[in-house]
């Protein structure tokens, strides 16, 4: 009787997110996508790529065209122009080839009210090629305790989690999530974020839309901001934020003279409530603090903030 072989050494407790090899072919390729409804062009030439192990977030206000773009990725709608490839295949024409590897969560969807949670998952699993076990699917979204509850009795957040469980049931390699955490309480939201991160660590490619900026900041490797059917900003979180200046704010007491304005600072409002915008935050702040120390000036409510994604997003929303 051979002795059993010792198992592999334990993995480190906290391994950094593995970076996919740059040569891995993109899981999702969108090139100059256009989508038209009659006279109205909802998507006007959108292009992006998503690699395995990457999260791509599409931000934008309602009506920007996010869902219209996603519906093409999901294989539910034809392109009016351009092309979309998921895992190298056309998600609509080669639907039978793509779907076993694609998990979709629509922005709104319904499930029959009179089936229990477990029955719903079991039914869905019965239509899939290689579903994960029902218990595992329920555990992933913390619905194990609600397995025998009818769908009509679930809360909105629970329903959304059930929907997500169905999207993940087939162990997809590509996930398209349209506003996945809308209507979820903060704890459920974090559960979903953790779930998405785990899937991405296993090599899935995720395209999600959201208008929660913190969700994009938390999850996304790359972000694109859509407005009126076009991508107007794209890049990593840092790259997008850098398109906006940093902000310094403080309030001067009565009778205090204005500080000298350092180079590279644009004065948005002068005293007593001062707001400066600058792309060289540290030097500007250093000069300001040096001046304040030298003259014994108290800078009340001093705030120095690097450019944020929110700023960039609002700038896009405001422009026009």
């Amino acid at each position: 009787m051979h002795p059993s072989v010792a198992s592999a050494p334990p993995s480190p407790a906290e391994s950094p997110r593995p970076t996919p090899p740059a040569s891995a072919p993109p899981a999702v390729e969108v090139a100059d996508l256009r989508r038209r409804y009659g006279d109205f062009e909802a998507v006007r030439g959108v292009s992006f790529e998503v690699r395995p192990g990457e999260v791509f977030a599409l931000l934008g206000v309602n009506g920007a065209g996010k869902t219209s773009a996603l519906e093409v990725l999901e294989g539910l709608a034809p392109v009016s122009g351009g092309s979309v490839r998921v895992l190298g295949a056309d998600p609509r024409r080669e639907r039978a080839v793509v779907r076993p590897h694609l998990g979709v969560l629509l922005q709104v969807s319904g499930l029959p009210g009179d089936l229990t949670v477990a029955e719903t998952v079991r039914t869905w699993a019965g239509t899939l090629t290689a579903p994960r076990p029902v218990d595992e699917a329920l555990a992933q979204v913390d619905l194990t305790g609600r397995a025998d509850v009818r769908v009509r009795s679930l809360s909105g957040g629970e329903r959304r989690r059930l929907d997500l469980a169905l999207a993940l049931l087939g162990r997809p390699r590509v996930l398209v999530l349209d506003e996945p955490t809308t209507g979820l309480d903060p704890e459920s939201r974090r559960t979903v974020w953790r779930l998405v991160r785990d899937l991405v660590d296993d090599g899935a490619a995720v395209v999600l839309t959201t208008h929660h900026l913190e969700e994009a900041e938390e999850l996304a490797d790359r972000i694109a901001v859509m407005r009126a059917g076009r991508i107007v900003l794209a890049g990593t979180r840092e790259e997008i934020a850098e398109t906006q200046p940093a902000t310094i704010r403080f309030t001067l007491d009565d009778g205090v003279p204005q500080p000298p304005v350092p180079a590279g600072v644009h004065v948005v409002s002068a005293g007593p409530r001062v707001e400066w915008h600058t792309r060289a935050l540290q030097p500007a702040l250093a000069r300001l603090l040096a001046w304040a120390a030298a003259y014994g000036v108290v800078l009340r409510g001093l705030q120095a903030r690097s450019a944020s994604l929110e700023q960039a997003f609002l700038a896009v929303a405001d422009a026009e």
Binding site: L87, V97, P112, L115, R122, T123, G126, G170
Partner: protein, 265 residues
């Protein structure tokens, strides 16, 4: 070249079966629907037996029951079911899975088709029990008639969802098919009492060929009242068969072109 290695997974029949089983379970949990499904055939058969008088006995009663069931149950139920699923956003959800569009629609229709089969079966059993059963001249034709008729009704139902906004409005939007198809189908009166042009039109309506084919199979009688046999039987069957195939094609094309999976925004 794709890098997709797709394992085969369950057969299409099993996949459709999984959804169909769930839909049937849902029907069984809907008490109103179950009561309607059981009561309806009894009421309809009673109605037909009374209205038809002495002329309707045995296999003729079965033909009439099949015709009524196909329109009042199969067609009408399916329109309300599809519209309800669409408005509840369930159809669009189902469409994001691995089932094809056609498989989703078929699975949704299964419970209604099962009830249709059960109802026709119950009437057949009732006829046999009453001792009124007569062996059909050609058993294939009536079966074919019901199968094709059911197909046409399913497709007419999917096509009808295009102009049916809510499950409640189905009561109105289904009137053209329900009234139009049954009135001149040969169920209430033989078509040969109509002037020739009108009879021709009547024979082109969706339910009439079902009745015609079934009648041919049951006792070899054509719509004209003529009795045929052997090759003449199949020759006479060509007309209604062609009409049913044409309706299948028309309804299928209309569905493919205009069917909506989600409510109008």
């Amino acid at each position: 070249m794709t890098t997709l290695a797709t394992p085969v997974g369950p057969s299409p029949l099993r996949r459709v079966g999984a959804l169909a089983a769930a839909e049937t379970r849902l029907l069984a949990r809907n008490r109103t629907a179950v009561v309607n499904s059981v009561l309806m055939p009894l009421l309809l058969v009673g109605f037909v037996a009374v209205v038809g008088g002495d002329g309707l006995l045995g296999a003729d009663l079965l033909v009439a029951a099949a015709g009524f069931t196909l329109v009042f149950l199969t067609y009408y139920n399916l329109v309300t079911t599809y519209v309800a699923r669409r408005e509840d956003l369930v159809l669009q959800r189902l469409r994001t899975g691995e089932l094809s569009d056609g498989q989703v629609l078929l699975a949704t229709a299964v419970p209604t088709l099962l009830v249709t089969a059960v109802q026709i079966g119950l009437v057949a059993a009732g006829v046999a029990v009453l001792g009124r059963w007569t062996a059909p001249v050609d058993p294939v034709l009536p079966v074919l008639a019901v199968l094709l008729g059911a197909t046409v009704m399913v497709l007419l139902a999917t096509a009808s969802t295009v102009f049916t906004r809510t499950p409640e409005s189905a009561q109105i939007t289904t009137l053209p098919v329900v009234m139009g198809a049954t009135a001149l189908s040969g169920l209430f009166f033989p078509l040969n009492v109509l002037p020739e042009e009108l009879a021709t039109v009547a024979r082109l309506l969706p339910l009439t060929p079902v009745i015609e084919l079934a009648q041919l199979g049951v006792d070899g009688r054509t719509w004209d009242g003529e009795v045929v046999a052997g090759a003449g039987l199949w020759w006479a069957a060509l007309g209604p068969l062609g009409t049913l195939l044409a309706w299948t094609a028309i309804a299928a094309l209309a569905t493919a072109r205009w069917f909506r999976w989600s409510p109008r925004r």
